[in-house]
Symmetry: C2
Subunit: 345 residues, 2 copies
């Protein structure tokens, strides 16, 4: 059944694609096998992340971008990552309705996904969906995330190019979040450029960019190592000495074609960034880092799964109660558990 579905996805069936994505999102059995079968067919799509603070008009911009790629005759997969409704468990953004523009076009496939698992931010399901769309042969995959936080940082891990969308005239808190995600921008967009305050937003962003833009991606692996107390990875040492200053593009993304502005420039900026990655050798390094990160995360899950399997459940409860009573601290509790399974030292 899964094998047939995989074959149908590879043959270009949109129905099979939709069904497989649903299965992945629901964590149904057989999906890991399907992903393994599809894996050899991946690695061809250009993955573009579109992210930004609330109210910046990301969905409309994604729609406009999709139109521009279609005009170049490239097929487009869109993954819109939504906050999850706490009650239905489903995605809740009415926003998606705007994307229906493209729904008559067989060269565009749109998928809304909910960030169901709060642990891990951009859910594993989203990564898997990108891989499936890649195997299904889409030339470009646009991943849109809403909000600010973990998902924006995670997007750097899957996207070749990350577009950070800003807009003039948002509040102070939003400004702060914007600054927090500037770091991940390969291309900066000031959308709604016809709004009052656009020129001061552009000025402020330019000033920040002139302060220097560290190549955040090269630190991906470093972050993971720091977070998990690991030694520096050999792969991370190979970062070529190349610098990319994120271009700042002003756009007006409206649903009417006549009102649009800056979209062509944005498409060019994205293409330039990809050329930079390839020419500098960074593309290869980033792909290796990304793979290492994924392998490490899967390894960590597997190690934990095996350890917990070997550990008597009562032992966990005993140790937790000792920590609650403050007779053990949490790190001592870890050593006590390692001792139980005979891995003390």
């Amino acid at each position: 059944m899964t094998a047939e579905l995989v074959d149908a996805v590879l043959a270009g069936s949109r129905r099979a694609l939709a069904r497989l994505l649903t299965r992945i999102e629901n964590g149904e059995p057989g999906t890991q096998e399907a992903l393994a079968d599809l894996f050899p067919h991946t690695g061809h799509a250009t993955v573009i992340g579109i992210t930004g603070a609330p109210g910046t008009g990301k969905s409309t911009l994604v729609n406009a971008l999709a139109g521009a790629f279609r005009a170049e005759d490239r097929t487009v997969g869109i993954i819109a990552v939504d906050p999850t409704s706490p009650f239905s468990g489903g995605a809740i953004l009415g926003d998606r309705i705007r994307m229906q523009d493209r729904s008559g076009d067989p060269g565009v496939f749109i998928r809304s996904m909910a960030t169901r698992g709060s642990l891990g931010g951009l859910a594993r399901a989203v990564w898997d969906a990108i891989r499936v769309m890649d195997a299904a042969g889409f030339d470009v995959i646009l991943v849109e995330t809403v909000g600010a936080g973990q998902s924006e940082v995670d997007i750097v891990r899957v996207a070749h190019t990350t577009v950070v969308v800003e807009a003039p005239g948002l509040g102070d808190d939003v400004q702060a979040i914007k600054a927090g995600i500037l770091e991940i921008a390969d291309v900066l967009v000031v959308n709604k450029a016809d709004r009052g305050g656009a020129s001061s937003t552009v000025r402020a962003l330019k000033a920040m960019l002139e302060l220097g833009h560290p190549l955040a991606r090269s630190r991906l692996m470093g972050q993971y190592e720091a977070a998990h107390h690991l030694a520096a990875s050999p792969v991370a040492a190979d970062i070529p000495d190349a610098t990319w200053v994120p271009p700042l593009i002003q756009t007006i993304a409206t649903s009417e074609d006549s009102g649009k502005s800056g979209i062509t420039e944005l498409v060019h900026a994205i293409a330039s960034h990809k050329r930079f990655l390839v020419d500098s050798g960074l593309m290869a390094v980033l792909e290796a880092q990304r793979i290492q990160l994924e392998v490490y995360e899967r390894l960590q899950s597997e190690l934990m799964r095996r350890f917990i399997h070997a550990l008597p459940a009562e032992r966990v409860q005993t140790v937790v109660m000792q920590v609650r009573a403050r007779t053990l601290d949490p790190q001592q509790a870890v050593f006590a558990l390692l001792d139980t399974v005979g891995e003390g030292n």
Copy 2:
């Protein structure tokens, strides 16, 4: 040196507290030992999380809440978790200036912390800071987080009571984020209740609450297990069958005392929630879950650290290159690494 600092913190020195928090934030050596020494002195503070979408006036509300607790003669520690500036590495919210109101009062201690490590959302440093303030004897610890995403979910893990702040008249994207974090609310606040649209915001929230409010906290451990493919924990099975419907409080938090409204009601709601937790037995269960989660995370880090230590670095590179060449899929790579260290099966 660290031992002296710990003694000084326990003796109530604010300077020592500030220095230790800085050391923790910088990940300086000796901080793990300091935390272990402080651990037996923790468990007395009431930890309250204040979270919400951008623009809801959280900082001003935190300030007003601190004032109300001070009026009851309770000491207050405030941790304001800020997005990190990508360039300075420091916290960037001008917002904090508003909190200076309280800075003359020795019964209030304010700390801004940056969510430096993007992996893991609310950084480990924040948890550690809560623990230090708890050991230092603060009666109430208010943890304010900005934005939406991982940090809001993480706050549930450390706070006894999570207050979700809403405000009328925010945009559509923000509405969506609001819905996403409603799930974690123990107490719901509609701040800026004097603004236009307040009554419709209240109506909308009430309608959502009436749809049923799952007790999100009881699913904390379940989420972790699902995310890490673990078996169900024994502790999570003990959830008492108790229901809490989050009260909805309308507030006006301004910097002038005369304009304030609803703050007393909010303090009462927080106290009722704590009483509910204690009376129902949920407090004990939640504390056990929280400890188990922390022990599991530390255990996972430790297992990974040991495994990577035993693994030849060239082996990692070889496997990564095989995945890049699509001759191994990422999960097969994990099994290959386990084989290397003699843990295949």
